[in-house]
Amino acid sequence: MSQHSTTYVPKSAFAKWFESRLPIAGLVHSSFIAFPVPRNLNYFWTFGAILAFMLVSQIVTGVFLAMYYTPNASLAFQSVEHIMRDVNYGWLLRYLHANGASMFFIAVYIHIFRGLYYGSYKAPREILWILGVVIYGLMMATAFMGYVLPWGQMSFWGATVITNILAAIPVVGDTIQSLLWGGYSVGNPTLNRFFSIHYLLPFMIVGVVILHIWALHVPGQNNPTGVPIKSGKDAVPFTPYATIKDIFATVVFMIFFAWFVFYIPNFLGHADNYVPANPAVTPTHIVPEWYFLPFYAILRAIPDKLGGVIAMFAAIAVLAFLPWLDTSKVRSTNYRPLYKQFFWILVADTLLLGWLGAKPPEGWYVVVSQIATAYYFIHFLVILPVLGFIERPLPLPNSILDSVMGVKGGAGLPSGAKAEPQAKG
């Protein structure tokens, strides 16, 4: 696959002059044009590009919304309605931004579970994975603060509930809470600083995304076999192969996005957020946005306040330790018959937690939440480490090319030390 030269050669005199001073064209060329991509990537690998698109989409719609939005407790709700009613295409910008947050999370969850399934967090991609966890954390902070901005009932009470969570942190909790509030409770200063930080964080996400892509380009992409690229025949150049595939997938994703924006724009929101914030009345049922529901269920499953907070943060933090918790030498779950079952149980468990997070914390919902929470942690802290020792993986293909050509693995000696299954019984 070498119709394309692997290094950038400036053609014009100007390009030569420029490149010798700022070699950016060469960087782009090596990163996004000549960069070798495993030829067997499936469509789950297009979600990186989809996420990049969503990030840009959120920033662009957000910047335009900020031209009309007023971060003041007595004007915020009204300014959002002004955008919805009077600003030309304001309804479109706002629905794109509000639903865009959900789309961003849908894409990131697929991206994360893709990584979990194909072992993309394993050596040598630990830093890449941890940077991804950092991005996920920043996304959650950004989304939470963004949801506060319309200053509806759910905005206000969501902010109250979450900032009260932080107060449970020993010693520094109250200080953190007071710094977030800027007063004695959630109020105008809170809204104002949330807007400031909500505007800042996406650019920090951009920064970490650059590191994330950088860290990706050192070892290169993982692939459905988990076997690394061994020769040029295993790979295709990023452009045009990955580029066109990513663009196609992104446009298909946009159809899905548009369905929500244009036809069911409030499906993923809460009716209560069309009621202006009122500190004297709590909505009967405070529910966070759907993408926080599994963690919310974990928070509520623990009967102790501090314990619940610790469990919730631990549920996210445990992801960062995944590279060391998974002891299996085989990356791809395609070759791990036992783990494959546990993977899907984890998916079901997460969905169950999400459903429970939307339910009132009473009766058997509480018990089921506790079981599901326990399972979540058992998966990462017990099943994953133990399975690596007791599981007998299927034979791996010799190379990506073999796998593509349908050559069954295991005929020859498994090559590639990293991907070699450990014969343990």
């Binding site: 030829r39 067997n40 066109i244 196609f248 159809i255 548009a258 499906f267 069309y274």
Partner: protein
């Protein structure tokens, strides 16, 4: 400062606060609130539009019934003539606005004064502020209606919410509003309705502060060529019409949204088709157009 303001209000509305707390009491006791019936709305689905005549009738009901207690603050008179709404003529809107008085000022002497409203003005609220509204209405201020059709809902539950994504069922709000308006009934035997409360089948807890607002024949509808009312002058029809109107006030660009949405999605489908074949052609050079490796 705010505490002091509230404090003054408190003194005036002490009884009321207690009454309210009492009112919400059965919320826990009586859990079984029936699900509002699903109506066929003209604005449902990908090609949904508002029925102009219905919006105009709904506006008449708001004006003659609801507006004595409920504000409509986010709606301006001019909105009544904009495309996608009731589409009154501009002259009608101008005349209509002039019937309302709004406060303006200060003038050169420094005084606030009242003048006839202009199309650019918003609907004036029936009460000067929320506390006044609460004081005049048994302690609970009647909520603003501009967003009511989006601010109320009922739980669809699993698995219905999944189907709703595909059927584009997004009318839980209007269904709920309509159900409340038609849900006034005699309380069942043994059901204790607290003073100041009214039994409503569809209100969570069944006790609503708002008295039955509509009755048959209350609002006169425009006549058709035969001298008959355009639509039945019944509570059922009134409720539908005013609910449709409130859906429009909550989502004034609904028609444009659905129209543009159809065009956008159509375009994206064509583009993705083109991209799919382009992608296939490019990948054909590799020798394998389908490189998925899900053998195991």
């Amino acid at each position: 400062m705010r505490a002091l303001g509230n404090n003054i209000m408190m003194k005036r509305t002490l009884l009321i606060a207690a009454a309210l707390l009492g009112l919400s009491a059965p919320a826990i006791a009586a859990e079984e609130t029936p699900v509002p019936p699903q109506l066929k709305w003209t604005f449902h689905g990908p090609f949904g539009t508002f029925d102009r005549a219905q919006l105009q009738r709904g506006f008449k009901i708001y004006r003659e019934v609801c507006s004595s207690c409920h504000s409509l603050s986010y709606v301006a008179f001019r909105n009544l003539s904009q495309p996608g709404g009731p589409e009154f003529s501009e002259a009608q809107v101008k005349a209509l606005a002039a019937e309302y008085k709004v406060q303006d000022g200060p003038n050169d002497a420094g005084d606030m004064f009242e003048r006839p409203a202009r199309p650019a003005d918003h609907f004036p609220a029936p009460f000067p502020n929320e506390n006044a509204a609460a004081a005049a209405n048994g302690g609970k201020a009647p909520p603003d209606l501009s967003l009511m059709a989006k601010a109320r809902t009922y739980e669809r539950g699993f698995p219905w919410f999944i189907f709703d994504m595909f059927t584009q069922f997004a009318e839980t709000g209007p269904d709920y509003v309509h159900a409340i308006l038609t849900g006034y009934e005699e309380p069942p035997a043994g059901f204790q309705v607290p003073t100041g409360g009214h039994f409503n089948e569809y209100y969570p807890g069944h006790v609503i502060a708002m008295p039955k607002p509509l009755s048959d024949g209350q609002v006169e509808y425009p006549k058709d060529a035969n001298g008959q009312p355009q639509a039945p002058e019944t509570v059922e029809q009134y409720s539908r019409d005013v609910t449709a109107f409130l859906m429009w006030t909550a989502e004034p660009h609904l028609e444009a949204r659905k129209r543009i949405g159809f065009q956008a999605i159509l375009f994206l489908i064509v583009l993705s088709g083109l991209l799919y074949f382009t992608k296939k052609k490019i990948w054909a050079r590799v020798g394998h157009s389908d490189l998925t490796t899900h053998q195991a």
